[in-house]
């Protein structure tokens, strides 16, 4: 099941880049190959694996995924940049997404954003806090409109966030 075309020199194999698809991660990806008709269909899952391992998707990660799946880096980059949850730049240890689309907006989501920017020390949307702990972004509808305002911190989906709850919630993430 080798996916490496012709053993050519790889673009990602720089001294400071540690490969993601080795050992257990490689096995996890290869187990997925049987679930789809094409290797390319494993692209979104493979990108999730890179982000899990690195916290974001660096250029070398894109090149590694391309090689493992038999695609070109340019193609993979086109896909990465289509989807908003893949980070093409390093982010804080905890990534916070706040829904501010209309249903939440009407219920005070922008106040939650302000409270989060203050409590995390990020100051600005998209910026990482000086201690490296947090990055806060606005996101479009999180699909929990009846529980305004939902936020997603890493993989924790938290409903009904109010400005008052924010300082306490943030404390749980070191």
């Amino acid at each position: 099941m080798s996916a490496t075309p012709s053993g050519a020199a790889t673009t990602h194999a720089t001294a400071d880049y540690q490969q993601v698809f080795t050992g257990a991660t490689k096995a996890r990806l290869e187990a997925l190959f049987a679930k789809y008709e094409t290797r390319q269909a494993c692209l979104l899952p493979a990108l999730w694996m890179v982000q899990e391992a690195r916290g974001w998707i660096p250029e070398q990660g894109i090149a590694e995924v391309a090689e493992v799946l038999g695609l070109t880096p340019a193609y993979v980059k086109g896909v990465v940049t289509f989807y908003t949850m893949y980070h093409t730049h390093p982010v804080g240890r905890h990534f916070v997404m706040v829904c501010t689309t209309s249903p939440c907006n009407m219920c005070g989501a922008e106040d939650v954003v302000r409270a989060l920017l203050k409590a995390t020390g990020c100051g600005e949307l998209g910026a990482t806090s000086p201690d490296g702990r947090f990055t806060v972004v606005e996101t479009e509808c999180l699909g929990a409109c009846g529980f305004a305002t939902p936020i997603l911190i890493d993989n924790d989906f938290i409903e009904g966030v109010t400005p008052e709850r924010v300082p306490g919630l943030i404390q749980g993430y070191k």
């Binding site: 979104l44 289509f82 009407m106 509808c141 409109c145 989906f157």
Partner: protein, 435 residues
């Protein structure tokens, strides 16, 4: 039931019966509640017999389009000469809609059982459930439930000893509203950008991996086991108004009501009963101003239209909008309509896949005009310009995202023109656009 609230006497609780009941999440818990009987029954029936039962029931797609489910299934080739696929659309991202999330969080086996029955009916051995990337909790419960179903023989190489292979695979999205469009979803599974495809070919002819494919919404599929258990006639009988709209519908209600939540009602239930009785009405001292009934992509209704509206596919159309996914955004008299419409146009501008010119340019342009109106820099001809743009964005593109951006703008200008004019004339102070 109006989860997270107790069930209201005017609800008809079928799909939502076990919302909030953590015991219903496990395989054993689901079997104790009558689970997997419908799948066993279906496996003893022919493909045609299952499809006919669903046709008879009148079940229509709950994701927004309302296409008859049995008819859709019947488009799949009778002879299986190549792989057939089921795609379950769990990319719930339509602003105002949060029902599929509860189905997956509380009753994952209801969805699995429905998917297995659908696979059998369309001649598929493999089904993909595409869950939006942000739904971490539904993913966790679905993953556990699929593992349990495999272990119990309800999925796998030989489902309940029938000799049939049915495998379900979870596929995680990564943040893209457009992937809820059926062909964009298939592209996304295939490892591509989520651009909708030109139709035809329709999915039943060439869908996922260019194979015959059926794609259904989570709520649609979850209704299937109930129909097989209780019969098409029972389901068809759940109808208070137009006979073309049958069964129950989960209505997600959010915004300015006392008790937001998911309410399950018989098709044809008056909208005012839902808002003013089941949801407890407006907050004290407030009055209803507007409702966007079908997720944000449909025309805005005013209070008069809400008052006479019956909740089914035809009833909402008769009142100038669409039932859509039934994500109902309720707005009271404190709402700045211009601001909220601007926020919706930002959503569509943000989520456009940028494939079609009318959408790529039109959504962004619309958003910029809305922003300048709110910033007090609007021009007198801006409303005509917005309507002209909307006209060019409707019915001109591969998918309906562009139309969806135009819907709240056009209906907003028609029904709340005075609020726009107040910003244009300087009568109203400019509103801050960004937090």
């Amino acid at each position: 039931m109006g989860f997270p609230h107790p069930s209201h006497p005017k609800e008809t609780v079928v799909l939502s019966k076990y919302f909030g009941d953590a015991q219903a999440r496990s395989y054993d818990g689901w079997v104790k509640r009558g689970g997997y009987e419908a799948l066993k029954k279906a496996l003893g029936m022919s493909r045609d017999a299952v499809i006919n039962e669903i046709k008879e029931s009148g079940l229509r797609g709950r994701g927004g389009a309302g296409f008859p489910t049995g008819l859709k299934w019947s488009f799949m080739p009778k002879e299986v000469t190549q792989p057939h696929y089921l795609c379950c659309n769990a990319d719930e991202s339509e602003p105002g809609t949060f029902k599929d999330r509860e189905i997956m969080r509380w009753t994952p086996h209801a969805l699995i059982e429905g998917c297995a029955i659908a696979c059998h009916a369309i001649g598929a051995e493999v089904g993909y459930i595409y869950i939006r990337g942000e739904f971490t909790e539904p993913w966790k419960y679905m993953e556990q439930a699929i593992a349990e179903a495999n272990a119990a023989g309800a999925l796998g190489a030989n489902v309940f000893g029938s000799g049939k292979r049915i495998e379900l695979i979870l596929h995680r999205g990564a943040g893209a509203y457009i992937c809820g469009e059926e062909t964009a979803l298939m592209n996304s599974i295939e490892g591509k950008r989520g651009n909708p495809r030109i139709k035809p070919p329709f999915p039943a002819a060439a869908g996922l991996f260019a194979r015959p494919t059926t794609i259904n919404n989570v709520e649609t599929i979850s209704a299937v086991p109930h129909i097989l258990n209780r019969g098409a006639a029972w389901y068809k009988g759940l109808c208070l108004s137009n006979p073309k709209s049958t069964g129950t519908k989960l209505i997600s209600v959010c915004g300015h009501v006392q008790k937001p939540g998911n309410y399950e009602v018989t098709m044809g239930t008056p909208m005012k009963d839902l808002i003013f009785e089941m949801c407890g009405g407006m907050r004290p001292g407030r009055t209803l101003k507007a409702v966007i009934p079908g997720g944000s992509s449909v025309p805005i209704m005013n209070a008069e239209e809400v008052d006479r509206c019956l909740l089914d596919y035809e009833g909402v159309v008769a009142c100038g909008s669409m039932l859509g996914s039934a994500g109902m955004i309720v707005m009271d008299d404190t709402t700045d309509m211009v601001y909220q419409i601007m926020r919706l146009t930002r959503f569509y501008a943000e989520e456009s896949c940028a494939q079609c010119t009318q959408c790529r340019e039109g959504t962004g342009w619309t958003h910029r005009i809305m922003e300048r109106i709110l910033a007090g820099q609007g021009k007198s001809q801006d409303l005509d310009l917005l309507l002209d743009l909307a006209d060019n964005m409707t019915g001109k593109t591969i998918c309906v995202l562009s139309d969806s951006c135009a819907a709240p703008v056009v209906s907003g200008i028609q029904k709340f023109r005075g609020e726009f004019e107040a910003y244009l004339s300087g009568q109203r102070k400019p509103a801050l656009v960004h937090a």
